[in-house]
Amino acid sequence: MTLTAFFQYCLVGISIGGIYALIAIGYTMVYGILRLINFAHGDIFMMAAYFMIFAMVDFMIPWYISMIIMIVSTIVLGVVIEKLAYKPLRNAPRMSIMISAIGVSYLLQNLATYLFSALPKQYPQIPILNKTITIGEVSTSIATFITPIITIVFVVLLMMLIKYTKVGMAMRAVSKDFETAQLMGIQINNVITVTFIIGCFLAAVGSMLYFTPRPSVFPLAGSLPGLKCFIAAVFGGIGSIPGAVLGGLIIGICETFIKAFGYSEFSDVFTFVLLIAVLMIKPTGLFGEKMAEKV
């Protein structure tokens, strides 16, 4: 492998890792607060891609307005799902709410198949993101190049939000102890809504960056990336945002290099083996807090 190729792969790996990180944050935040694996998150990510196609291809709206429409509709979708499918089960056993999440994922996949057909659709070209740039000998599309930057910017903003704002403080309190936080007068439903808004916003941004360099979108396109991002969240320590980012980056880079060495059919196996290995060795992940078992 030449040095140029090495850098090229590094860039691609960091870029895809950045996208994984954006989605993984959605998983990790929801898990931190609701103790729920939001199985539908990957499908929300897929729906975001369809919203973009809808706005740009079917309604011919310019990309910058489409982007806003897409982000807003993704957020609306996520919040509606939370209100309809998760809120009624707040006091139900954890298994029920997880089944509900699986049900939503199932519904979204079937709905997408019905509305947009199972045939792959072309993702619209966003001219600015598709331009090729060359740095030294490494040439790449703008999308690949700016993804890590966007990721870092959003992560820093999010960390500041969580650290310095009132709602961020509420989030931290809720994730520490749901019931006590409620007793302290925190409007738990608002906090959860904000969590879903942030998660869906990042998934929408991630979806645009993910699908721009890829040829097509299909109803199951979100399920595998969704699982990988969940693994990234587990790897980094579920509930921890820096953990999710690091997990996403590591998975993205490893995956790219495994593909580069010609073992592309095993790149997904690697991810799942990593998951099982992490769960065996350090179930709390890299940055996860040790949770005491309650008797």
Binding site: R35, R94, G103
Partner: protein, 366 residues
């Protein structure tokens, strides 16, 4: 109701079921929808009951069902494809030398399929079962995906035929084969669940710590439940392979696990009869009754809106969400179907009616 009447009632019910099956077999042409839907329902009911054993009875939320079914299906296919058809099946990569002359009879194939799935469960069980609730779910899900990717990978080209999948799998010898196999398997599961082991599983579901305090060895019982469940999942996979005749890795996607999970949710987590009823109900609705939703309809000149390909699954998933949200007990909850229960149900119904129409109504009902 005494024990003898109940026993006779059960026998009569089984006889009626068998009679109906024979009637359907004789009376319908071999291309009739009901025939294959019945077989498929039976296979799903075994898959659902085996998953319910783990999720509903032992309280271990596993999402690896499709993986174990895939293992069973592939094992069955690899060992039972007739020697004569092997060259056509493995035309691209050739068959592994050790397997070239192996062709077990289907009955042995089914058992081997179950054993293989059980063996795999035994291997991964020890580490995976240490995990708690949702971590266990995601680890088993990961395992199922690994299985799916590996069977399609080039490493196993000469065994699983890579992404081309396997075909020429021997079908059911007679129309009744799947029903008999499923009946035997479910009977074994029922016996197991009524034994001390079954009671121990339920105790673990209710409260792990209390169960441990009562002297139940958690690790070994969980392991046992996991292995037994995988064994039957493997068998249901083998039956699926026989039913379809050809399999690829995409026959066993995550969606299949979700399908089966939703069947056991509708039937009631922790109810064997519930799972069976739900399997038949769901499979009939999905494969047959709701088919009309996928086709465009006209009433006179009026074009019925919404109906087109895919609408069936949307309706189906909405029904499932409604069940999950508003009727989380499912059809049976954690109860089983019993004659006493049925008798009590009718008596309650009758009492209600008598209350409503005190004059004459009671006599008419007797």
């Amino acid at each position: 109701m005494n024990k003898k009447t109940k026993f006779i009632c059960t026998l009569v019910l089984i006889a009626i079921g068998a009679g109906l099956l024979v009637f359907i077999d004789q009376a319908t042409p071999s291309s009739a929808m009901i025939r294959s839907v019945l077989q498929l329902s039976a296979i799903y009911s075994l898959a659902a009951v085996s998953m319910n054993m783990l999720n509903g009875f032992t309280g271990l939320f596993s999402l690896g069902q499709a993986g174990f079914m895939a293992v069973g299906a592939y094992t069955f296919a690899v060992f039972t494809i007739p020697v004569a058809s092997k060259p056509t099946v493995y035309y691209l990569y050739g068959v592994a030398d050790a397997l070239a002359n192996v062709a077990l009879p289907p009955a042995a194939g089914i058992v081997v399929a179950g054993l293989m799935a059980a063996l795999l469960a035994a291997v991964i069980g020890a580490p995976v079962l240490r995990l708690k609730s949702d971590y266990f779910a995601i680890a088993t899900l990961g395992f199922a995906e690994i299985v799916r990717i590996l069977v399609a990978s080039s490493v196993f080209n000469r065994i699983t035929n890579g992404s081309l999948g396997l075909k020429c799998i021997p079908g059911f010898g007679s129309y009744y084969t799947p029903f008999i196999v499923v009946f035997i398997c479910i009977a074994i599961i029922v016996l197991l669940m009524n034994s001390t082991y079954g009671r121990a599983f339920k105790a673990i579901r209710e409260d792990e710590i209390a169960a441990e305090a009562m002297g139940i060895n958690l690790a070994s019982h969980k392991q046992m439940s996991f292995i037994a469940s995988s064994f039957f999942a493997g068998i249901s996979g083998a039956l699926m392979a026989m039913f379809l005749g050809a399999i690829t890795s995409t026959t066993f996607p995550l969606m299949l696990t979700y399908n089966i999970l939703l069947i056991i949710v509708i039937g009631g987590m922790g109810s064997i009869t519930g799972s069976i009823i739900a399997s038949f109900l769901v499979t009939f609705a999905k494969e047959w009754w709701l088919r009309f939703l996928d086709v465009e309809h006209f009433i006179g000149d009026f074009h019925v809106p919404l109906l087109r390909t895919g609408f069936r699954m949307v309706v189906f998933s909405v029904i499932l969400m409604v069940v999950v949200l508003f009727w989380s007990r499912g059809i049976m909850g954690q109860k089983e179907f019993t004659w006493d229960g049925l008798y009590g149900f009718f008596r309650k119904l009758k009492n209600k009616r008598q209350e409503k129409s005190p004059v004459g109504g009671g006599a008419a009902n007797d």
